[in-house]
């Protein structure tokens, strides 16, 4: 009985999560749950102006308040920290065409957005710290705010960073293939200006950290809510002029991140400096208003494009101008400009596009920083899939037919014009299956019938591919940024397996999925595998811990290969002890035995005990720890992708959009844990629906931030998100061993396109063509002419 359980494959089963017992009973450990002896509390004073010179700061009343330990302003920050030159630690500042400003953790000479940190109060309690914030008097000399890209591009706009001269922070062209030839061959040119509004990640746990500087040894321990402990270590050390060995970053449970927490905030730098200055631990937990105004925002891009098309709907070439509103301070280590190129290079998607050229312009404005958000390049999918529908409408063709005319066939030896091989892409299969599930023809009949009754139904579809991790070429394998995964895997004298990963899960369930992989490979029960992460003293270096939809392939793969290597070591030792050949040994349910003779065996723990404590029983070449340090470059890699389709009904009286059905057909390779895959997909879909129907990070004409509460920044609830049906297409295995592919970002990449296309389809009889992504009821009513 026990053996049967032990032998059952874990990979491919919806194994219950190892994380859940603690999470469900209130025993999770998030950063705000940690209390250190002598710990103080911090609060930031933030700018209420979008753009202003600071002419004076009077913190005397705040400093005099009982319970206040220290107040730091722009005057102090220059001596406490180093200037921040974003991106330099990982070479991002070397991007061609990019200008990089220099700034400090607190505003010194001027403020650049509503929420810009101006002062830090350190006090005995958070309540006192916030009291003190109110006592700081800042004198501002307001400057004209730069609130959108159009203003930023006007030569007369006040530079957000004086030293850059103007508000263009990056400008460069990208071109792939022969765009001129594509246009010369085209039957017609279809133009469109497509806009994506300002999104926001909004994890339920905001940012937060405890900086704990120990003046004795001169070490900083930094407890953080982060996706990337090592990037904090990499950037905070030099800020405090500490050696790498003097900085340790710890992260436990992380309450969501969605890309936001790959960045080292200016707040992190200031907090670490404050702890060093006061010689005590200092905790800062962001509140929701400062999270919404100041943590990070995303998207806000406009693409002016012309598409070269044939009369039968083939898309031959795209020419465009991409304008990105980057906000004020570039993210460190990933400035928004780093994502602009990916938007263009991913735009061909699964199509046979032959030429693509785009002029990229990234501007600074008086807004919060543009940072990574789940599929940072996702605007490419919105643009391509919206464009295809616009082309279909203009040519009088069916949008499914136009897609089929452009998407590659499975097995077609094709490359994106931007270079990457499209090997294994199942875009077409996912589209066909989605339309079958939707009963596409039947829907069109129902739609016509409903139109006769004055009801507006629409069906939208969108297809995407995601490099998760993408097919691998030699240069990609060599890239440290995403390329080589590392893990350490060992077995102890209980027969339990421990994995040390450089991933930093924040909801993905790696304690479960990586244990599933190791359990199968090692032949131990799932419960006997522990996954360790979140401690820079023990985990391998990674610029991004968990992000970029790469952990299924890379972390799954490194554990698979590492466990195989460890098993080989175990069997070599056991073979010696059992006087058998390693080839005749197996491990089942934690018991090493001779195949066919289960009585001739040793518990795995006993093998490990002998290896560790009685090495003299082994020949010299077999002595040593039962531990493996494994590297993995991603093997053959491959694409994730799929098609999302939904049916909406738009109420032309109220502008309300109701989603009647939402179908996902996806391909993420072999699934480690289907329930976790489906959770990732549904979560991404919910963010995509929220982005279209509800969410917008909004500024007024003065640059004032106007969505700083959850009454203004509307997240979807269980009432707005429909049931989401998920289907899987047969994947194309590319690698002999590892065909798990990432699934984290896909839902958020493709959903806005599918939902907007459905709304556009519904509104077509009313003469509206949608060229934007944020469609709350008021905007729907404007588009159909009900309100001005």
């Amino acid at each position: 009985m026990a053996q049967a359980t032990g032998a059952a494959r874990q990979v491919g089963a919806s194994v219950r999560r190892a994380e859940d017992p603690r999470i469900l009973t209130g025993a999770g450990r998030y950063v705000d749950d940690i209390v250190l002896p002598g710990m103080l509390h911090a609060a930031f004073l933030r700018s209420t102006y979008a753009h202003a010179r600071i002419t004076g700061v009077d913190a005397s009343a705040a400093r005099a308040l009982p319970g206040v330990v220290a107040v730091y302003t722009g005057d102090e920050v220059r001596s406490m920290t180093q200037p921040i030159v974003p991106g330099t630690a990982v070479g991002m500042h070397l991007m061609p065409g990019l200008k990089t400003p220099t700034f400090f953790a607190l505003a010194t000479d001027k403020v650049r957005f509503v929420g810009d940190p101006v002062a830090l109060v350190v006090a005995e309690s958070r309540y006192v710290a916030e009291d003190a914030i109110d006592l700081i008097d800042v004198e501002y000399d307001p400057l004209p705010p730069v609130v959108d890209a159009q203003q930023a591009l006007e030569g007369s706009s006040a530079p957000v960073f004086d030293e850059l001269g103007d508000n263009v922070i990056a400008r460069y062209p990208i071109a792939f293939g022969d765009t001129d030839a594509a246009f010369a061959e085209a039957d017609r040119v279809v133009g469109a200006t497509l806009a994506v509004h300002r999104h926001q990640m909004v994890p339920m746990e905001g940012r937060g950290a405890i900086a704990s500087y120990d003046p004795g040894p001169g070490t900083l321990t930094y407890y953080a809510s982060t996706q990337s402990p090592h990037i904090l270590k990499l950037l905070l050390g030099p800020q405090l002029q500490l050696a790498p060995e003097q900085v340790r970053v710890l992260a436990g449970d992380v309450g969501g991140a969605f890309g936001l927490k790959t960045t080292v905030g200016r707040e992190d730098v200031m907090l670490a400096a404050a702890s060093k200055a006061v010689g005590r631990p200092v905790k800062w937990i962001e509140d929701r208003s400062e999270h919404l105004s100041s943590s990070g925002q995303a998207r806000e891009e406009t693409l002016d494009i012309e598409a070269a098309v044939t009369d039968d709907g083939r898309l031959l070439g795209i020419r465009g101008r991409l304008t990105m509103d980057h906000g004020a301070y570039p993210g460190d280590p990933f400035p928004a400009s780093a994502f602009a190129g990916a938007i263009v290079s991913m735009m061909p998607g699964p199509t046979r596009l032959r030429g693509l050229s785009c002029d990229i312009t990234v501007v600074t404005t008086n807004k919060c920083s543009y940072l990574a958000y789940r599929g940072p390049w996702a605007t490419e999918t919105f643009v391509r899939e919206r464009l295809i529908d616009i082309i279909a409408r203009e040519l009088g063709l069916d949008p499914v037919a136009v897609r089929l005319a452009n998407y590659i066939e499975k097995g077609e030896p094709a490359r994106m014009i931007s270079g990457q091989s499209l090997v294994g892409v199942t875009a077409r299969e996912s589209l066909e299956r989605a339309m079958e599930l939707m009963d596409y023809e039947g829907f069109r009949r129902r739609q016509r019938q409903a139109a006769g009754e004055g009801r507006y139904l629409g069906l939208g579809m969108a297809t995407y591919i995601e490099a998760a991790p993408g097919p691998r070429s030699d240069d990609q394998r060599a890239s440290q940024l995403m390329g080589v995964e590392k893990a350490r895997i060992s077995v102890d004298d209980r027969g339990h397996v421990t994995i040390v990963t450089r991933q930093q899960p924040h909801g993905q369930g790696h304690e479960t999925t990586l244990a599933q992989v190791a359990a199968d490979e090692m032949g131990v029960p799932f419960e006997h595998v522990t996954v360790l992460y979140g401690d820079t003293d023990i985990t391998p270096f990674a610029i991004v811990g968990t992000g970029g939809s790469r952990s299924a392939t890379l972390a799954g793969g490194v554990v698979l290969h590492g466990a195989r290597a460890l098993k080989k070591k175990v069997l070599d030792v056991a073979a010696e002890l059992l006087e058998a050949s390693p080839a005749d040994l197996t491990i089942v349910d934690g018991m090493v035995s001779v195949v066919g003779t289960p009585t001739r065996g040793l518990p795995l723990g006993e093998v490990a005990r002998i290896a560790a404590h009685e090495p003299e029983r082994l020949p010299a070449e077999l002595r040593g720890d039962l531990e493996v340090e494994q590297d993995y470059d991603g093997g053959a890699g491959g694409w994730s992708g799929g098609t999302h389709s939904c049916i909406v009904e738009v109420d032309a009286e109220t502008g309300q959009v109701r989603i009647d059905r939402y179908v996902v057909v996806e391909d993420c390779g072999a699934m480690i844990n289907p329930a976790i895959v489906e959770g990732q997909v549904r979560g991404g879909v919910a963010q995509g629906i929220g982005a279209v129907l509800l969410e917008r990070s909004a500024y007024d004409d003065d640059g004032q931030y106007v969505s700083a509460t959850f009454m203004d920044y509307l997240l979807p609830t269980a009432m707005e998100i429909p049931s989401i049906e998920i289907h899987h297409v047969d994947t194309v295995p590319l690698d002999p061993d590892v065909n798990f592919r990432g699934v984290g970002e896909g839902g958020m990449i493709v959903t806005p396109a599918a939902v907007v296309n459905a709304i556009d389809d519904a509104l077509a009889p009313l003469g509206a063509t949608i060229r934007e992504q944020h469609l709350p009821p008021s905007r729907i009513l404007e588009l159909i002419g009900t309100i001005a």
């Binding site: 209130g26 309540y127 746990e205 309450g255 549904r682 919910a686 959850f710 269980a718 998100i721």
Partner: protein
């Protein structure tokens, strides 16, 4: 200008507790800092997200919108008090089986809300569950797995009642 403090007595997860806290301190902060029960999470501090939901005299409340001193004399149940003797409550068990959550930050609020809902309204449709959970925000899951968990718990509790 030291802040006035008050002594507060209440029952917390079945045990009598007494703390002396600033009168202005929220119940959420009292629970987390003075009672050391960090399972209750603070997600928005303005009563929208529901992560801080606890039961006060049986009713789910936003502990970020209530002062600790207002809870004097009350019977408080937090997420730590839902499981009994190390055994998960059926709603927690059903959430586990249903893969209901991901990052876990919103989870305590959903556990408390669902616990109270199933106590008050054992027979539930999916539409009921969605409406009742609409005061709790989750950013990870798209809600379906949470709704499924509540429905599974309702079914199990019904079956258990019949035995």
């Amino acid at each position: 200008m030291s802040e006035p403090t008050m002594r507060v007595r209440f029952s917390v997860n079945g045990a009598a507790r007494e703390v002396t806290v600033e009168a202005r301190k929220t119940l959420a902060d009292v629970i987390r800092e003075d009672l050391g029960l960090t399972g209750t999470h603070v997600g928005c501090e303005h009563g929208v997200c529901g992560a801080c939901t606890v039961l006060v005299d049986g009713d789910p409340v936003r502990s970020c919108l209530m002062l600790g001193v207002q809870a004097g004399g009350s019977d408080i149940v937090t997420v730590e008090g839902v499981a009994g003797d190390g055994v998960m409550h059926p709603v927690q068990q059903a959430f586990w089986d249903s893969h209901s959550f991901q990052c876990g930050f919103c989870t305590p609020g959903f556990v408390i809300t669902a616990y109270a809902l199933l106590r008050d309204k054992p027979e539930l449709t999916e539409a009921d569950v969605r409406a009742e959970l609409s005061g709790n925000l989750c950013r990870c899951t798209g809600y379906q797995s949470i709704v499924n968990g509540v429905l599974a718990a309702a079914e199990r509790l019904q079956d258990a009642g019949k035995e």
